[in-house]
């Protein structure tokens, strides 16, 4: 059965409806463009934003004097010499406006004495991180943007729309080929400008802190469309992801805000403090940066001093019930419902895949190397270098989203609605209309679990040539099983088919991450090579990845020397 595609035409197509996509939609429509906001899940529900329980970095200076240049200096230092100066600068300079606009839209930033209050997150030189109580930053940001969009007739929203490939005509991006999950129907979208806001790649790892739709789709879509990826080896692991006891209805990164407010003690399996052994004495305050904390916990575990489930203990036993309730109110009840009383027992934590520093190469207008293709949010590479500073993720979603929306609308005033040519959409439409693999296809959900196991075991925060080569072999075997024909059927909500299209992207991105990690023979930020433990001045370069005739081409470019701040 060959289904004729539905054809939609728009000024701006935005793929992904987290904070970056929604802010881009609002900004593009404000500049006069008609927008189609597409998401493979429900609008404003999936992605990373809704999961962000932590803080948002912004130099507002309401309580303590601050300036974007100080925020910038901290961002650059965290990035270990690899930040793209211009993107980092944009991130810090535009942040106050975006945060204040969110405030105007009613997000509800926590206030003290009439001022938006800020906390000091690790790596910041002063209180700079705003939040919404209690553990509600991400959901509040999502809801606020959804509500702001709801009043806007120029933003058309399309949930359950899974983009298979971008359309490229004569080197320019002219839209996307997608299918509707609910019916399986193919959809062609012609757009003057396309914004990728699909987030990162944390789903490549078994233990991760983001939604199930963060599987690197945007990187793979951009790569196949001819864009350049950079810094793909830098995956940030959040050191204190919840490990045990089993906790339902809570985000695994919930312990970070607890540490901001209450300090807390990291202890090994013998109930000893250990972070000082790795060069950082906490002294009751939360100052340990993410890469150092991940290193310290992993090394304690390797030395056999782990907690029962293979991590470290995090204790708030120094706090009274009243202190806990003052700081986290209803969250304490949710913990009690899970059988956890923090005044009596510590929890167990371990590193968890959290964020990806690398991504699509973009300039300060958020334009990729492909005319007509813009990027926003975590899918953008370079702003955070080799290690992202706490609090910069939601900030970059808002700042880059707004900028991408503006740039996309600007392009719409210059170019006509593209006429799609059959030759540019045929391959993707053929995949969508494929009758499916013969025989009994392998279990697609199990294949994803296999890929996650390879990445977790061999491409985690600590790598060696041996683990990375083993990962490349493992990925090659999974790629061979994956084949060229989609699993399942093109009917309604066939999860096997969705898994297959996800895996098509995940395999590409996993391969890129692993190959870049193998190439980089040094340790820097989130990329730690145990066989090359030192940071090397020769490697103050970015790896650029492109696809040439179906083959990966990886080259290097120097990172700005001025960024070598730590």
């Amino acid at each position: 059965m060959h289904l004729e595609p539905l054809l939609i035409s728009t000024d701006v197509l935005i793929i992904g409806s987290g904070a970056a996509g929604m802010y881009a939609a609002i900004e593009a429509s404000r500049d006069g463009a008609q927008v189609l906001l597409a998401d493979r899940s429900l609008i404003g529900r999936g992605g990373a934003t809704v999961m962000a329980q932590m803080t948002v970095a912004v130099a507002l200076g309401e309580e303590t004097p601050d300036d974007p240049q100080y925020h910038y200096a901290n961002t650059i230092a965290a990035g270990r010499g690899l930040c793209d100066d211009k993107l980092a600068q944009l991130l810090c300079e535009d942040a106050p406006e975006c945060i204040r606009e969110m405030d105007y839209w009613g997000v509800g930033w926590a206030r003290k004495d009439g001022h938006i209050t800020a906390t000091t997150a690790p790596g910041h030189d002063r209180p700079r991180c705003v939040y919404v109580d209690f553990l509600n930053t991400g959901p509040a940001v999502s809801k606020t943007l959804r509500t702001a969009m709801a009043r806007n007739p120029n933003i058309r929203k399309a949930g359950d729309l899974c983009v298979v490939d971008l359309i490229v005509s004569d080197g320019e991006c002219t839209g996307a080929v997608a299918y509707h999950l609910g019916t399986g129907a193919p959809v062609l979208i012609a757009a003057k400008a396309t914004v990728l806001a699909t987030g990162g790649l944390t789903r490549l790892y078994a233990r991760n802190s983001a939604s199930t739709n963060m599987a690197g789709d945007g990187y793979a879509l951009a790569l196949r469309a001819g864009a350049t990826l950079i810094d793909m080896e830098f995956v940030q692991f959040f050191p204190i992801g919840h490990l045990a006891p089993r906790l339902v209805g809570m985000d695994p990164i919930m312990w970070d805000p607890f540490r901001y407010k209450l300090g807390g003690q990291l202890l090994n399996g013998r109930m000893e403090e250990f972070t000082a052994r790795y060069g950082s004495d906490e002294d009751g305050k939360y100052v340990l940066t993410r890469d150092l904390a991940t290193y310290a916990i992993t090394k304690e575990v390797e030395a056999g001093r782990d907690s029962p489930h293979g991590g470290a203990y995090l204790s708030f036993q120094h706090c009274t019930e009243t202190q806990l309730r003052d700081a986290f109110g209803p969250v304490i009840d949710r913990l009690a419902a899970n059988g956890i009383d923090l005044t009596k027992t510590p929890v167990e934590v371990a590193p968890i895949a959290h964020y990806h520093m690398g991504g699509v190469k973009a300039d300060v207008t958020m334009a990729s190397d492909v005319p007509g293709l813009f990027v926003a949010g975590e899918v953008v590479g370079g702003a955070n270098g080799a290690n992202r500073l706490s609090g910069n993720a939601v900030t970059e979603a808002l700042v880059f989203g707004r900028r991408a929306g503006r740039s996309a609308a600007e392009r719409c005033r210059r170019v006509p609605v593209p006429a799609l040519r059959a030759q540019d959409t045929k391959a993707a439409l053929d995949l969508i209309n494929d009758e499916g693999a013969d025989g009994s296809p392998a279990n697609t959900a199990a294949a994803i679990a296999d890929l996650q196991a390879v990445m977790t075991k061999d491409v985690g925060p600590f790598r060696t040539a041996a683990t990375l080569n083993r990962a490349l072999s493992g990925l090659a075997a999974i790629t061979a099983e994956h084949g060229d024909h989609p699993a399942g059927e093109h009917g309604s909500f066939d999860m096997r088919r969705l898994d297959w299209f996800d895996m098509r992207n995940m395999l590409t991105v996993a391969h890129v991450v692993t190959q870049c990690a193998l190439n980089r023979i040094e340790s820097r930020g989130a990329h730690q090579r145990e066989d090359f433990p030192q940071m090397s001045p020769q490697w103050q370069v970015r790896q650029r990845v492109a696809l040439h005739d179906g083959k990966l081409a990886i080259s290097t470019e120097p990172a700005a020397a001025k960024a070598l701040a730590s």
Partner: protein, 113 residues
Amino acid sequence: MSAQGQKATLKIRRGAAGETTRFETYDVPFEHGQSVLDGLRWLRINKDPSIAVRYSCINANACKECMIQVDGETVYACTARLEPREMTLAPLPNKKLIRDLVTEIAPPSERFK
């Protein structure tokens, strides 16, 4: 922590809009503290990847996508606890069925049309 050899039995209503729906029954290893969604994810990986269920955030109860009925009661699959007994899983009765446990839950203005 794990209860040795215990299992949960999930009786799942299956089928797409326009088809005659049926129940299919699967056993899932039971571990204390797991959610119904944990059981469904285990089933997809180990028994049948075609079981359709909508979810994004897995565990945080943030996306609010995994609303289904368990034993006739509307719950989030990610916070409803798995229990070592037979549990009946069905799509929301008041929403348009898409397939298996997936229903049309998006507000009309956020649907693809």
